[in-house]
Subunit: 151 residues, 2 copies
């Protein structure tokens, strides 16, 4: 196992992805996903239909909710990666702060878990799980939570 | 890689875990978790404090919400495991159907993603992410969803 190098590579891919999301560059942002990725998303159904088209459509739709002039402040906090030569997993708290078309500011953290496989020498995300927990006393999604380590 | 054997072992561990949950046997149910597991749970904070004590406390609390006489019908649907010799990840739709102390029936699916590492020859869960999505138009957690493949 050369776990340390693989971890560094995956963190670099996540940094590229984060930058692409900030730049609203959907095609660059989806480069880290495998063709047959399975997505468990923050909103919507339990799972999206398998495949990168689901990620592309979902990301484009999400980016379209932000005001045209808005700066999309998007960050991954507390990124942890565990890797060997073939498989890896990572998790983070993802934060967005940006103005929506509605005029409201979206300032929200969610949890993200990513499962990676190396295919022909390139790391790709096979499975992604993003969510917020909910409050069982109200049934409401907890969209105002912060991670323990908020900077 | 001897991926097939590892996949079979992990599925067997999940079957043991599922049986232990049905039997309300907390100590058997938590055997599959690593000592320093990090949990992103369906309800509560973004993350629980790292460590198996969080899992034990959370599972005991959850089981205590069911009526004493209730049969806990707990199943993992569409279990998929990807493994090499050192690391693995799995995902499933988890279903519970059981009567709560309040008299209400809890009949709910959630998504679960598990990240595994083999340590001294034994597979342990390093990270677990369980959730339901929410409906952005209402802010409510979507606790009534079913997976595409519901039996």
């Amino acid at each position: 196992m050369d776990a340390k190098d693989e971890t560094v590579r995956i963190k670099a891919l996540l940094a590229d992805h984060t930058r692409a999301v900030r730049n609203r560059d959907v095609s660059a942002a989806i480069e880290i996903y495998a063709d047959d990725v399975l997505i468990f998303d923050v909103v919507g159904p339990l799972a999206h239909p398998k495949g990168i088209a689901s990620v592309e459509e979902r990301l484009a739709q999400w980016l379209s909710t932000f005001a045209d002039y808005a700066v999309i402040d998007f960050q991954l906090v507390d990124v942890a990666v565990t890797a060997d030569e073939h498989l890896a997993f990572s998790h983070s708290f993802n934060h967005v702060n940006a103005r929506l078309r509605t005029g409201r500011i979206l300032d929200m953290y969610w949890r993200e878990t990513l499962c990676w496989r190396k295919h022909h020498g390139e790391w790709k995300i096979m499975h992604s799980h993003s969510s917020v927990p909910f409050d069982p006393t109200t049934g409401m999604a907890s969209t105002g939570l912060e991670p323990p380590s908020r900077p």
